[in-house]
Symmetry: C2
Subunit: 325 residues, 2 copies
């Protein structure tokens, strides 16, 4: 069963892959066994993260990148991660509109993820879907995230090249500082650069990159700032050239640096995976218990404080020696 | 020891409260015992959440609100939650600038939180600091959060009245939909409303509120949309009036609705508290183990997949019967 699913996905079967991605998004039990078996077929794709504030034009940029990569004969997987819409549980325009353009092209596979589980775990689902795309043999995987929260930063850290997209104006300077994005951005794109304040934004960004950029483990890579107008297909070729340059810089790192970087990513991903499993399994167990409901009643009527309730509920479930802090 | 700390805080001792808040931010062991004892002194403050994108002018708005509340003779606690800045580990302008204006006023207490623990937990720290302000006897607690991630939405759910601040332009319409903010916003403020596209933003917001607003448990409250220019002190009085109206609507709910809402918040907060303790205690234990380091090496050299590594590391720590999913 697991073997035949894995074989189909490795052979690029879209239907099987789509089913598995849906199961990952919906936390269907048993998907982990498939992911375990699939893992040895991963590690070949180049993963590009695209992130930035809502309205920055990321989707258009990604569409243009896909078109250019297809012209180069590369296969592409696009994963749009958008957990923030209350209306549809995902991007409003969503897959359907975006699929249309590439719907007859077998070399492009577009999917979106929207489900943040009751206890989180979106970052984990994203990594699993990347594994699926990777096992399918896609040359490039583009992961598009909306916003600049911790999830987006964590997802960016798993990408090989992270592109930050901004638009001129709206206090970008301060906006960017607060967003912590300078730490994770390998390439910056000022989209909608026909706007009058684009040069000011460029100037601000240059200054900020000089201040904040960590250069220790990136082979001296200086994040370029590109101007683009995605809707007019301007700046896309330049972006793909910079991505290729960044890829080469990464490849040219010393073996020690490469292993150091790999280990840092593996650590981040493994901790994240344990975290969500721990929380989902133990908390599901507790929140379905009678004791949990009794504790809630006591908190509401003021006979118990939440800190003590938490102690009591956890002490029954946590292994010995883990409750003293 | 715990008793004397609690007594000092209940008597409004700023130094003791500041020390405790620092300990909460830094996850100092033992603070939970103080919070347990402090809890029975909470429940009197009115909690106002202010959130919105970076650069929307929230800090200025909050400063003006504080001034007006002080003129009414109310005491105020302000908590600025800003975990996203890599530069300072907090808001760049930060407490220091903001404190100056109110530094001689004993009725105002301003603090900021910036530390997202290795495994998260900022939402939890925020609630604990609110408890401290509350026990100090502040009439109003204003919690200012930056951005629209899940943390901010969870914090907003704990507030009595949540104010969403936006600025005209920059695709607010789409921006807001994606941010999921319509679900948590009780009052919307279009700040910098002297900008030319303010009316368009107003129009867009009205339409979106009509579509998305859940009216079931809020006593029929229709979220108003206010125009403001915080830098010119325009719209602040109107905002405080709407907050007072919302407070009255909440008070006028049926006893069943009030209990229902209280229970929903207690549940959210208790789950969040268990989650962070579970993760911090169990994961700290695992990540300090030799097995964890060995697993990382195996993942990096390709001899183990992360899904299996996760299974192995957790199976030793999870109580029986919780590992089957």
């Amino acid at each position: 069963m697991v073997d035949s699913i894995v074989e189909k996905i490795v052979n690029g079967d879209v239907r099987t892959a789509a089913k598995l991605i849906g199961d990952i998004d919906n936390r269907v039990p048993g998907t982990r066994e498939i992911l375990k078996a699939l893992y040895k077929h991963t590690g070949n794709a180049y993963i590009i993260g695209i992130t930035g504030a809502p309205g920055a034009g990321k989707s258009t940029l990604v569409d243009e990148m896909v078109r250019d990569l297809r012209l180069q004969g590369k296969t592409v997987g696009v994963l749009a991660v958008d957990p923030t819409s209350p209306l549809s549980g995902g991007a409003i325009l969503g897959d359907r509109v975006r699929m249309q353009r590439h719907s007859l092209d077998e070399g492009v596979f577009i999917r979106s993820l929207a489900t943040r589980g009751q206890f989180g775990g979106l970052t984990q689902s994203t990594r699993s879907v990347i594994d699926v795309f990777d096992a399918m043999g896609k040359d490039y995987i583009i992961v598009e995230t909306v916003g600049v929260g911790q999830d987006e930063i964590d997802i960016a850290k798993s990408a090989h090249t992270t592109v930050i997209v901004v638009v001129p104006g709206m206090g970008d300077h301060i906006q960017a500082i607060k967003a912590g994005i300078f730490e994770v951005g390998d390439i910056f794109v000022i989209n909608k650069s026909d706007r009058s304040d684009a040069n000011k934004t460029l100037h601000d960004f240059k200054a900020m990159i000089d201040i904040t950029r960590k250069r220790s483990t990136n082979g001296g890579w200086e994040p370029p700032i590109l101007m683009a107008e995605a809707v007019n297909n301007k700046g896309i070729v330049e972006l793909l050239i910079e991505i290729e340059k960044h890829r080469k810089t990464r490849k040219a790192l010393s073996p020690e640096s490469i292993i150091h970087n790999k280990k840092a990513i593996a650590q981040l991903e493994l901790i994240d995976m344990m975290k969500i499993r721990l929380v989902e399994e133990v908390l599901n167990h507790i929140t379905n218990s009678l004791e949990f409901k009794e504790c809630l009643d006591c908190i509401v009527d003021g006979t118990k404080d939440p800190y003590s309730a938490c102690d009591e509920l956890l002490s029954a479930k946590l292994p010995d020696g883990l409750q003293q802090s």
